[in-house]
């Protein structure tokens, strides 16, 4: 069965893109997760308190280095609470 004309066209276009890449050295195709959605936390103003599953701190954006590997850099940056190097202003709560 022959493929429709527009299918052939888009396939040919994509093949052309791959062909252009063939001029460079091969590296495994890489897809990196740069942002992951998370469940909304509870306290938007109604009903009873529900402690959250909101963003966890830290981590830096990953580079697209390793082939087809998933990035682990999906935790968002967070606003700066007094978390590190607290100059003796804090203790962990029991």
């Amino acid at each position: 069965m022959s493929e429709p004309k527009d299918t052939l066209f888009s396939r040919r276009k994509a093949l052309g893109r791959i062909g252009a890449l063939a001029l460079a050295a091969y590296a495994a195709p890489a897809m990196t997760t740069v942002s992951v959605a998370q469940a909304s936390s509870g306290s938007s103003g109604s009903s009873s308190p529900s402690p959250t599953s909101a963003p966890s701190p830290t981590s830096t954006p990953s580079k697209t280095s390793s082939p087809t590997s998933s990035s682990s850099s999906t935790s968002p940056s967070v606003c700066s609470g007094p978390t590190d190097d607290d100059a003796g202003c804090a203790e962990t709560a029991p």
């Binding site: 888009s10 590296a27 195709p29 959605a37 963003p55 954006p61 082939p67 967070v78 609470g81 607290d86």
Partner: protein, 407 residues
């Protein structure tokens, strides 16, 4: 005594259990964010609780909008911690907003946003701009909304800028003297600058530019240099901490914001030079997009319960995937808005082939033809790894199922 503090624009209250020292501190630190105090309403879920601890000078602080353990802080840090929670709680009450971990300073009627991680110098630079007479929307969090037909719109928080102590010896002496004399609460770790004439909470300005900060230790002449669009995209996506939004919508609005103007990097070592460089660079906004007058985008939630179906013989792009080319890089968000993916050039080309149904064998054939020197087994393995990831990410589906979806 239990009290609730209601900040303008935030549905959930800050709850104080005792902690009498917090209220006067808040009045100086959140000086431009109006709030009201009332008796605690047991039916209202607080975003944060500060509680006195019997026999201790520290206050027990617990965030209800972030997944982190409770801490015992001194009063200044307790307020600092509550404000971090407040920044998370604000967009929960306003579907127009996403919040960036960033500083924002006004230049000639537009806001320049510095989306940087900690220790890039954005707080010190913000304080230096305040000293130079520029309104500081925030030194840590910039909420953005997205009116149709224009650039992103930044919202002022009304929180005093904060400097980390001790101030580095490398800062100019006159800046250090100014900061040390500035009014505001402080402890051994932080000093807040309660400065007059700063923007009140809710004030808005169109975003004029995004500037990534690159602070150097060695001598370097301060300069603004253009940044590749994809580097800016990665920075903005990372700095967005409002992660309950639909990722496809986030991708669309941030991509549109980057189209509104170039992104810059400020390379600097000297604080005064940095201020002068930005003042020279952003003294006017000729040629930039006019502020939008259309309705502001309201974000929908991500749908996190998607599970990929059983694989088929051939795969195809799923209907509803959001695609955006930023510079030379393709970004994709799945139809449910669970995540944003960055595709390198070859992955993007393979993605393009999946516009129509294709089998792994067909894709492998095309790759083998383009890269004849690469062993076929390696190509097959690399390709399968990519297809597995596309499948798990909800970007592709079995061709037959996807055809039904389209109907």
């Amino acid at each position: 005594m239990l009290r609730d503090i209601h900040f303008q624009g935030v549905s959930a209250p800050l709850r104080l259990d005792g902690a009498d020292e917090v209220h006067p501190l808040l009045a100086r630190i959140a000086a431009d964010w109006p709030f009201e105090v009332s008796e605690a309403d047991p039916a209202a879920a607080p975003f944060f609780t500060i509680r006195s601890v019997e026999g201790a000078s520290r206050l027990r602080c617990e965030s209800h909008v972030e997944d982190r353990p409770a801490q015992l802080w001194d009063p200044v840090n307790a307020v600092c911690d509550a404000i971090a929670g407040l920044a998370v709680a604000l967009p929960l009450s306003d579907a127009r907003l996403i919040s960036l971990h960033a500083a924002g300073v006004a230049f000639a009627g537009r806001l320049v946003v510095f989306p940087n991680i900690r220790r890039a110098g954005k707080s010190t630079l913000s304080a230096a701009f305040a000293r130079a007479g520029h309104p500081v929307f925030s030194d840590d969090v910039v909420p953005l909304s997205f009116p149709a037909g224009g650039p992103a719109c930044a919202h002022a928080l009304g929180i005093a800028p904060r400097l980390r102590l001790p101030l580095p010896e490398s800062l100019p002496g006159d800046f250090r003297a100014w900061a040390e004399a500035a009014p505001g609460p402080r402890n051994r770790q932080y000093q807040y600058l309660t400065l007059p004439g700063q923007p009140v909470h809710g004030a808005t300005l169109p975003v004029g530019a995004f500037v990534l900060l690159e602070r150097r230790d060695g001598p370097v002449v301060a300069e603004l240099v253009p940044v590749p669009a994809e580097a800016a995209m990665d920075a903005l996506l990372h700095q967005n901490f409002t992660r309950d939004r639909h990722s496809g919508e986030v991708l669309e609005v941030i991509a549109a914001s980057l189209e509104a103007g170039p992104v810059w990097q400020l390379v600097y070592a000297d604080l005064d030079e940095a201020v002068a460089c930005l003042e020279a660079g952003f003294r006017g906004w000729a040629g930039t997009a006019e502020p939008g007058t259309g309705e502001e985008h309201r974000f929908g939630p991500a749908r996190l319960d998607y599970r990929p179906g059983p694989p088929g013989r051939s795969v195809v792009q799923r209907v509803g995937v959001v695609e955006r080319w930023i510079g030379e890089v393709l970004y994709l968000a799945d139809p449910e808005g669970r995540a944003i993916q960055r595709m390198d050039a070859l992955a993007a080309a393979i993605w393009g082939m999946l516009e129509e149904p294709a089998t792994p064998d067909e894709l492998e054939e095309a790759l083998a033809e383009a890269f004849p020197e690469i062993p076929r087994e390696r190509i097959a393995a690399d390709l399968q790894a990519l297809l597995d990831r596309l499948w798990d990410a909800g970007l592709v589906g079995a061709a037959e199922v996807s055809t039904v979806d389209k109907l």
